[in-house]
């Protein structure tokens, strides 16, 4: 066998292996997707949206409490995390720029983005749950907001930097003060990008379970009291899935399916906005 023939065979083997690994990866991933969709669709019914949690065995058992709790938690987290993230990103892009400080903040924020979310939960437990003496929706929302800030900060920083410098200069030339230039020119130019970042940030924290386990904890009943433990889809899903009761497990899959659809929807809308913004 000549050297060239050997190389051709080696090429076939290597490319075959890499195609095989892609097939294996896809097979596993579709298996999970298929389970999620089939189990989820099977478990879906109107009761889920009408009733709150009930002990196992009850027919009138639903996820209303967790759905509303999830929306409250994510909404609160968005209310806290988005303004802080956007302002911080604005500082980096418009004031800090290439200063050492700005780079340090970017680096630390980048590391934060990949840090274990359960540690954030432990931190919030220590600073809020322990002094207050009980779990609360506030604690859960703050934990989610801390996870959200680095994501929003990063996209805002990146998106604002894409706004052409000439646009800023043109506004300055008209005598506008810097804050006005930023608010009316720079933000407007980066609107689509920032909005996408916000949606992706919300999508990311909506799927978090670990930081909620010991901050907002869980509750099997409907509540809107922000000073009390609050149910969420993720923690409910976790608790129901590890329970030995089949009807609870069913509800767990329904929660999984609804939450995945919600997150996927946010992802799609976010990308569509960015896409539409780019085409203009």
């Amino acid at each position: 066998m000549t050297a060239v023939q050997k190389r051709i065979i080696m090429n076939r083997i290597a490319l075959g292996f890499s195609t095989l690994s892609a097939i294996i990866a896809l097979a596993f991933l579709f298996w999970i997707l298929a389970v999620l969709v089939m189990k989820g669709v099977n478990a879906l019914n109107w009761n889920i949206f009408i009733f709150e949690g009930a002990p196992p065995g009850y027919a009138e058992s639903g996820l209303k409490h967790a759905l509303v709790g999830q929306l409250i938690l994510v909404g609160l987290a968005t209310g806290i995390g988005v303004p802080l993230g956007i302002l911080a990103g604005t500082y980096l892009s418009e004031y800090g720029k290439n200063s050492k400080l700005a780079h340090t903040i970017r680096d630390i924020s980048d590391i934060m983005m990949s840090s274990p979310s359960i540690v954030i939960g432990a931190f919030v437990y220590a600073i809020i749950v322990m002094p207050m003496g009980h779990f609360s929706a506030w604690a859960g929302a703050i934990a989610l907001a801390i996870i959200m800030i680095p994501i929003i900060l990063r996209t805002t920083d990146d998106m604002l930097q894409l706004v052409p410098q000439t646009l800023r200069e043109a506004a300055f030339a008209l005598g506008a003060p810097k804050y006005k230039v930023i608010l009316s020119v720079v933000y407007r130019g980066a609107k689509a990008g920032i909005l996408t970042g916000v949606l992706l940030g919300i999508a990311r924290v909506a799927g978090e379970t670990a930081p909620l386990l010991f901050t907002s904890f869980n509750d099997n009943f409907f509540t809107t009291d922000l000073n009390e433990a609050m149910p969420s889809l993720t923690v409910t899903m976790f608790n129901y899935a590890i329970s030995p009761y089949e009807d609870w497990q069913q509800l767990g899959w329904a929660a999984a399916f609804i939450l995945s659809l919600f997150i996927l929807g946010l992802n799609i809308v976010g990308r569509l906005i960015l896409f539409a913004g780019k085409r203009k």
Binding site: S18, E94, D110, S115, I118, F123, T234
Partner: protein, 282 residues
């Protein structure tokens, strides 16, 4: 006036990040002091974790984290590199976008669902094939590997795609096969980016809680085989934080959280600053 105010608002928010990160370290450190005083180095070298005796040694949990992520890396890295090669060098455009959409789909799935899938669908298979309980190190490693695979493959592909076309063409122009070009040009060229991407995925795997909580077993024991049920730092935190009933128990859990944070910080920092520095930001 307003100008100054706006500036201060933005500066405050930016500094808040630094403050929060520092605060996290300080809080976790302060709360773990009691356990540090009580156990000293034994905290990380002893494997006896016995809340009823007020004895807390984190060795088994730390080992569990190391073993499960190592196993996940061993399983995921070759597949991820294979997938990345497939996506950057073999697949046609349609397959590429199909795969891209699939990866987006999977990124949208919360990790707790990977755990549920593992518990209900994969653990029984392990039980049938290998015997034992099914839950344990092997199940955790596999679920974790699947969980990080899409991210790992995507970032590895991005690293490979930084190789200029003209460089690849030069190797083809000398009569190289695709594999020659991959191993002699693309991988050496993108080496730093590829290693950085893999380590970044490792950093994420270390802190992953929900995907493994279901399938690990939460047993504070040094494993005797790959099928042994065991625990890891995040799994211990998830299962025991709300059950802790003594201040030493709490303190030990905070010690675990601090250990986990330091581990992942170091891994992520190595990935970002040592390997990905050049490609990070133009």
């Amino acid at each position: 006036m307003i100008d100054k105010l706006f500036f201060n608002f933005t500066r405050f928010s930016a500094f808040l990040i630094l403050v929060i990160v520092a605060w996290i370290f300080v809080v976790l450190f302060n709360h773990s002091l009691e356990a540090m005083h009580a156990f000293g180095l034994d905290f990380i070298t002893q494997d006896q974790w016995a809340p009823n005796l007020n004895k807390f040694g984190a060795y088994a949990a730390i080992l569990g984290s190391v073993l499960s992520t190592t196993l996940a890396m061993i399983l995921a890295v070759p597949v991820a590199i294979g997938v990345a090669i497939f996506l950057s060098e073999i697949a046609h455009d349609k397959i590429k976008s199909f795969f891209g959409i699939s990866v987006e789909l999977l990124a949208a799935i919360p990790s707790v669902i990977y755990g549920m899938w593992g518990l209900f669908y994969f653990v029984p298979i392990i039980r049938d094939v290998f015997g034992g309980m099914g839950i344990g190190l092997l199940a955790a490693g596999i679920v974790l590997a699947i969980m990080i695979l899409p991210f790992m493959a995507a970032v590895t592909r991005d690293a490979m795609n930084t190789t200029p076309d003209i460089l690849k063409e030069s190797a083809y122009a000398l009569g190289g096969t695709q594999w020659d070009v991959i191993k002699d040009v693309i991988i050496p060229y993108a080496k730093a980016g590829i290693i950085g991407s893999l380590i970044l995925a490792l950093g994420r795997a270390i802190g992953e809680t929900m995907a493994v909580t279901f399938v690990m077993g939460n047993v504070h024991k040094v494993p005797t085989s790959i099928l042994s049920p065991m625990t890891s730092i995040p799994v211990t935190l998830a299962n025991e934080f709300t059950e802790a009933d003594s201040s030493l128990y709490f303190s030990s859990l905070f010690g675990l959280a601090l250990t986990l944070l330091v581990m992942s910080f170091i891994v992520i920092a190595i990935a970002k600053f040592y390997f990905l520095r050049k490609t990070r930001r133009a």
